[in-house]
């Protein structure tokens, strides 16, 4: 997505600070020298003291705007940032949004959330669940071609055989 081209600053340090890596098919050029900008690309020229703002900008470019959804539990209705949700799962007739400390019942269809959150790092793992990739702690492939995902709260979510291929591809994207 990005190409980093530095003249004065250390390129490696900049990448570490901005949590990015250069890629061949890039859309943005990040540079500290306006002579290094490229035609046909969106160039961002910045100085070292702009680093924090640039970070926020990149967050926005990568993740887009924050998405909030509303759900409820026994304590009432809540509005939460989807980035805090570990996974969504259908239990009975309800769709649950599982957070680290609590869970909410949300009034969405699973396919609606799948579409809404595709760009936010969520991925379908079975007919009943969508998982936030950043909240996966560890992936355990099983001998029978299934995959188990250990979430940061130690819950285990299974990736069904029919979703395995798309799961792998989304990890590679």
């Amino acid at each position: 997505m990005f190409q980093v081209k530095m003249r004065h600053l250390n390129e490696k340090e900049v990448k570490e600070k901005l949590h990015i890596s250069s890629s061949k098919s890039y859309k943005y050029v990040l540079t500290d020298d306006k002579d290094l900008t490229e035609d046909g690309k969106i160039s961002i020229v910045f100085q070292e003291h702009h680093m924090t703002e640039i970070n926020k900008l990149i967050d926005y470019l990568v993740l887009g705007e924050e998405v909030f959804i509303t759900g409820y539990n026994e304590h009432g209705e809540k509005r939460v940032d989807t980035r805090n949700i570990l996974y969504f799962i259908i239990i009975g007739d309800d769709l649950h949004a599982v957070l680290l400390q609590t869970r909410l019942i949300v009034r969405y269809k699973l396919y609606e959330l799948e579409e809404l959150l595709e760009q936010k790092g969520f991925i379908r793992t079975s007919k009943h669940a969508i998982v936030n990739i950043t909240k996966i702690n560890y992936i355990k492939p099983a001998i029978n071609s299934k995959i188990e995902l250990e979430m940061i709260n130690k819950d285990i979510i299974e990736v069904n055989r029919s979703y395995l291929k798309s799961f792998k591809e989304s990890l590679k994207k």
Binding site: G121, T134, Y138, I139, E150, L171, K173
Partner: protein, 682 residues
């Protein structure tokens, strides 16, 4: 590989382990791959903790996959680390008593699953002479002795072997039960007239002399001593009063007493070595003593090996071995401490080297090295981990070599060869090479084909060459003698092939000549350059019912001949034997004097006189042409009511001295029967 096919269960197990290792390995690779992708994805999603996650599970899978490798690695590691502790890669250094107990346990666990229980080695008690009765009388000892007298019939020139009768050209020293009798035999002035008792050394304690060495400075007396060291009481073993407990424990000891010859045989110093005697040699003023101490084994009791560490005393001062002086040969039964002592008779210093192993059975000592042979069991390497039906893959002979550097002995090398040696004459060192003959599957080792071999080993005991299948099928080696660049070998089953083997080129020994005759020689000794004397068994009918003395003509190595022979048939003499067939030191031989003399004993029974017994020295003269002529049969009392056993002969100048348990008699070599003088030593 063949071993795996012969053990299908092991093969299946191994395949299962390999399959499991493969699956687990594949799983690990997959898991690492997925989690790398996950970390990468998290970083792409601006999730900053996107390190590659690790998990105990991965360690577990890894451990499981590597477990068999680790087990095998550990197993090999232990073996390798054990090897590391080997001195010169061959002798394992012992560090403590518990290690010995473990070695014993390990050996038994492996060994006792074998059916070959009869393979245990046996101790050799070399030079265990029959003691003869005591003496009295006394006389003056003025005058010089002769320089022309008979030494002990040693295998190697310069390496003295102890004997029960020795002479220094003036005195004859004999052992009479618990006494050493010194008889004045000859002086240049009065010759044989002086024959008479000179001195008696009597041992009042438990010392039992068995062998003597004499030189210009020292008279060395070697014998056994017994010490009761553990008398258990009935209470100790839980027996009721009145029952007798037979558990008296005697510690056998080897005693060495050194007398000053120039100071009228006063005691100079003495040594005591705990253990049984394996053998002894003397090279100038260095005395070599080899002892064995049996080690107990118990599965119930904890044995303190410290109590069994070889101990010796110099003039009653005690010295106990350290474990670090102990070496072990892998595969040998760790039931004996074999201790090699080197004594400097001048300084009384003692060098002690200990080998933990099985009992040895043949000793050969050259001027530079000691070679001791014993049996070892070659275990299958898997015997440590798998309970095999027969863990012993083969039984071999181990040759242990120690170098003699001044007065110090050092463990040098170890070699394993096939077969068993017959006696000390099976070995010979020549220009640094050890030549050795062996027979596999002698009667006591039952199974398999008989194979007689000659090996030549270099200084590091690497096998340089090997001749196999000597003799005809079914024949075993009866005697060997190495003389310089030739080996003479007698094999026997029904006839006696006498082989001349050219060993001049250590890498290419070959049978150069062969002779087939009835009977066989149990002892071979060179007689000058041209002849080989053979003493053994044979009769005129082609069997072995008699004592046979042969002189082989070995001038033409390609065509050895029987030059002359004499046979004493049992049908004529009654059952007869000569001790030379098993004790070469009883043979008196002088090429210069054309003399061969050996003890000869016959038993018979007649209805008139009952059983009779004849013992004497058979004397032969050999002329310049190498032909035997019978010189006479010297007996000390004819038709005696006592059993007078004439067991040794010596010469001083032209006189022949014959020694029995009652007399020393002197005659000329020329006329052995014409007794000139006699002294009673009983």
């Amino acid at each position: 590989m063949l071993f795996l096919f012969n053990n299908p269960l092991l093969l299946i197990g191994l395949l299962l382990i390999l399959t499991l290792m493969f699956l687990l390995g594949k799983q690990m690779v997959k898991e690492i791959h997925y989690n790398h992708l996950l970390a990468h994805k998290k970083r792409a999603l601006r999730y900053y903790d996107g390190e590659v996650p690790t998990n105990k599970r991965l360690y577990m899978i890894g451990s499981l996959a590597l477990a068999p490798v680790l087990v095998i690695g550990l197993f090999l590691g232990i073996r390798l680390s054990a090897d590391d502790a080997f001195v010169d890669d061959q002798f394992l250094q012992i560090s403590n008593g518990q290690q010995i107990v473990e070695l014993q346990k390990d050996f038994r666990e492996k060994y006792l699953t074998s059916y070959r229980n009869y393979l245990f080695g046996f101790a050799m008690m070399e030079d265990d002479f029959t003691a003869v009765p005591e003496t009295d009388a006394s006389e003056d000892a003025g005058g010089e002795g002769s320089d022309d007298y008979s030494d002990t019939n040693n295998q190697v020139e310069g390496v003295d072997e102890m004997d029960n009768v020795v002479t220094d050209g003036k005195f004859i020293y004999t052992i009479q039960q618990n006494k050493i009798v010194i008889t004045l035999a000859y002086t240049l002035e009065d010759e044989y007239d002086v024959l008479g008792h000179y001195k008696t050394i009597t041992y009042e304690d438990s010392f039992n002399p068995t062998g003597l060495y004499i030189d210009d400075d020292y008279l060395v007396v070697i014998g056994y001593d017994y010490m009761q060291y553990d008398e258990k009481q009935n209470d100790d073993v839980g027996l009721p009063e009145g029952d007798y407990y037979y558990g008296y424990y005697y510690q056998s000891q080897v005693g060495v007493k050194v007398y000053d010859v120039k100071n009228d045989y006063t005691i100079d110093h003495s040594y005591l070595f705990e253990g049984n005697m394996i053998g002894t040699r003397k090279i100038e003023d260095q005395l070599i003593i080899i002892t064995s101490n049996y080690l107990p084994y118990s599965e119930e009791e904890e044995i303190n090996m410290d109590e069994y560490l070889p101990t010796y005393y110099v003039d009653e001062q005690e010295f106990v071995a350290d474990y670090e002086d102990v070496r072990y040969i892998e595969g040998s039964n760790p039931n004996v401490f074999l201790t090699f002592y080197s004594l400097n008779l001048g300084t009384k210093e003692v060098d002690q080297n200990i080998l933990l192993g099985d009992s040895a059975y043949n000793l050969y000592v050259s001027n530079d090295n000691i070679y001791l042979v014993g049996s070892v069991y070659m275990f299958s390497p898997l015997a440590d981990v798998v309970n095999l039906e027969d863990p012993i893959t083969e039984t071999k002979t181990a040759i242990i070599k120690l170098s003699i550097d001044e007065y110090d002995l050092t463990f040098r090398n170890l070699a394993h060869i096939e077969g068993f040696t017959l006696n000390q004459f099976s070995m010979d060192e020549y220009q640094g090479y050890l030549r050795i003959t062996t027979t596999t599957s002698r009667w006591r080792f039952g199974d398999g084909e008989i194979n007689n071999r000659l090996y030549i080993l270099d200084e590091e005991l690497n096998i340089v060459s090997e001749l196999e299948n000597l003799g005809k099928p079914g024949e075993t080696i009866q005697s060997t003698r190495f003389v310089g660049e030739y080996a003479y070998l007698v094999t026997f089953e029904q006839t006696d092939p006498f082989y001349v083997i050219n060993v001049a080129d250590p890498e290419n020994p070959f049978v150069e000549g062969e002779l087939e005759i009835p009977g066989f020689s149990a002892y071979l000794q060179p007689f000058g350059q041209d002849f080989m004397l053979g003493i053994g068994f044979g009769d005129s009918k082609g069997g072995t019912q008699g004592v046979k003395i042969s002189l082989y003509d070995i001038r033409d190595k390609t065509n050895p001949l029987v030059h002359d022979e004499i046979i004493f048939e049992y049908s004529e003499f009654g059952f007869a034997y000569t001790s030379v067939t098993y004790n070469h030191k009883d043979l008196l031989l002088s090429y210069a004097k054309g003399l061969i003399a050996l003890p000869f004993t016959s038993y018979d029974y007649s209805s008139e006189s009952g059983q009779y017994y004849n013992s004497g020295i058979m004397v032969f003269h050999i002329d310049d042409e190498g032909m035997f002529s019978f010189g006479g049969f010297v007996q000390h009392e004819e038709d005696s009511e006592e059993n007078i056993y004439v067991y040794k002969s010596k010469f001083i100048d032209q006189y022949l001295y014959t020694v029995s348990n009652k007399y020393i008699k002197v005659s000329t070599i020329e006329d052995p029967l014409g007794i000139l003088n006699s002294t009673e030593i009983e």
